[in-house]
């Protein structure tokens, strides 16, 4: 069961990474214009 000591921190670290990424995206305003984002992805520039 010592493997748990490795697996659980990894799982938590990955989760925290996801949370941090979401909060970063929120802070940089990436959710401010959901409708516009779907058009912007098609821009060439």
């Amino acid at each position: 069961m010592t493997v748990l000591l490795l697996v659980i921190p990894i799982a938590l670290a990955l989760g925290t990474l996801g949370l941090a990424a979401f909060l970063w995206a929120l802070r940089t305003g990436q959710y401010d214009d959901i409708e516009g984002a779907e058009y912007r992805v098609l821009h060439d520039d």
Binding site: L19, E35, G36
Partner: protein, 769 residues
Amino acid sequence: MCCTDMALAYVEAHAAWSEANTKPSLDRDYSAFAAALPDGSARAEFAVEGVRCAACMNAIERGLAPLPGVASARLNVSDRRLAVTWSPEAEPDIPAVLAALDALGYTAQPFAPGGIADAESAETRRLIRALAVAGFASMNVMLLAISVWAGNVSDMAPENRDLFHWIQAVIALPAAAYAGRPFYEGAFRGLRAGRVTMDFPITLGVVLTLVMSVVETLSGAAHAYFDGAVMLLFFLLIGRVLDQTMRRRMRACAENLAALRSARATLAEPEGGLRDVPLAELAPGARILVRPGERVPADGLVEHGVSDLDQSLVTGETAAVTVRGGDRVFAGALNGSGALTMRVTATTGATLLDEVEGLMRRALEARSRALVLADRATRLYVPLVHATAALTLVGWLAAGAGWHAALLDAVAVLIVTCPCALGLAIPAVQVVAAGALFREGVLLNDGEALERFAAIDTVVFDKTGTLTLPEPVLAAGTFDPGALANAARLALSSRHPMAAALAAAAGGSGPFPGAEEAAGLGVRAVVDGVELRLGSARFCGAEDQAAAALAADPEASVICFRAGDGPPAVFPVRQALRPDACAVVAELERTGRRVLVLSGDRAPAVAAVAGRLGIAEWEAELTPQDKIARIEALRAGGRHVLMVGDGLNDAPALAAAHASLSPVTASHVSQAAADALFLGRSLAPVLSVLAAGRRARRLMLQNLWFSAAYNVLAVPLAAAGLVTPLIAALAMSGSSVVVTLNALRARLDTARPQPADGPAVAATVAGTA
């Protein structure tokens, strides 16, 4: 004459009827709309009209990028707002941006940098952050919890189980402390105000669950409920975030409309020049210019200039009123023929606006705020659940169980009755129903209004601007096509509202080159050596014909046209009914609702409209007090009144009625007083809100009954001590999902298209009723 006066005289003379009026030759200073950023650059926001698709976004952003000094231009498609930033060394040039947008074919208005909107978006962000934290915590805690549940029925060692519980505690405790703050604060605020809100049982449930779980973990027990606590917060936060997003979107939309309807004034500076300022910056004593075709932005006294004002938005009166120096004018009046210079007055006593605001305050205080479903549910739920928990505790103690076991079961009751379903039951329906109404062009000011719309059995209409369209149209009749076409082309050079009606009636070719104004009289152009004139009867020498036309149709106003010395043509212009007004009124009466018209206009005009709509009960020449009195009389008679009105004089009645609705062209005061605003020329939104209200109420009741039934099943299990964390988690998420799915039906029912004309409306409404 100082330089300002010369500038004003120039504008008065030339802005009135010339095409240059829309792009005045005098520079307007928009600097009040640009905000300085910390790094020295400037930024301004614009509300943009006509944005529909990706192509619009590309066109606008690429079109503005080459402007000198523009560092970035970014269009927010969701909000229809454009943010332009200028590089620090450049001077912000708002007129250049407006001109570029105009050339691209979009109407735009600079937007006053507001404080409320920022606070709103800060609150939204806070809720979303809380939601993210709760989501993260509930996923990870659930992962560990499921391991424990599996381990409890197989061969998990107690040390491992304790370790898993401790890890859950380390995640859940800080997460709940952070993500639950909106609820804790709400509960605390409510308690301080002496009320028990829905936040209170939520807070109590979460805190007790966490405390009990920690105690259980300390004693090495098989069960802990960390997952239940964070999942509860996660579900409830979803409801909060949806609610907040809906409100913010409605508000953004309403603000855009306000900006595009020009919530700004043209300030005449003491040292000369004209400056556009947001309304909020107008101080008493400021001198402002009101051009023809513009609305008077604030109450004040006319300093100079003569013009006809259309006061229908203020008093409901359709006949134009002539004002000159020294006369008092009210915000919302539409300026007709001439430019006016006026001085803004402080609103001190004895003005119409003061009177209206006083009445509104009283009406709002007196409004017996019908106890909404959510309040009634909370009042019933909170004592019931807490009493059950207490009973469980006492019962187990009496039955001889120890303190520990009795407390555990009492807390289990609190957890399992967690107001998850109840907390989502009503907001979820409100959000979905408001979204459905939004797509039909109705902006809801207040989600609770939906329930009040459901109870309506009497509909009171204002006439001007509500049953009729806000802008006048050319009356029906036979006109010489040549004269009509020429008059319409001349009318394109004018911003007079009556000329706009004429231009709209006969679209087609552009304005005559070289058309020029004669201040306060009309517009003229020389075409092929013949002088064409359009304007007042005096200007065209058509007094006799005008008098004859007015005698034939006392409700109309006339605009005259004359080519050279030929016979003058007279075009009657009048208020027109909204295209589907007849069908909507008929449908309201068919569904058993009483329909009345209460108007401030003259009796013959009201009688004519009521007659055409088949409304037997109408009253004319009412003051705002009279309207309130009529509505209160109806209420005293046990009726639930929906007031539909737009004028400043309707605002107190809107506030006094059980529920209220305004067209988006309404005065600011009325918009603030109304429960919902509707867009467009159709009157069908009246039927939509009533149908949506009934549907929403039905779904809310279903949700509440479902929550009650769920509790009836779950509470005995919990009180008997049979609820494991697994059952609690299943019950909680299951009930929340059921309630949310049921709420989504508010959207499905309105998905079918709603045609705007006659019998089809009746059919649709009959179908959804």
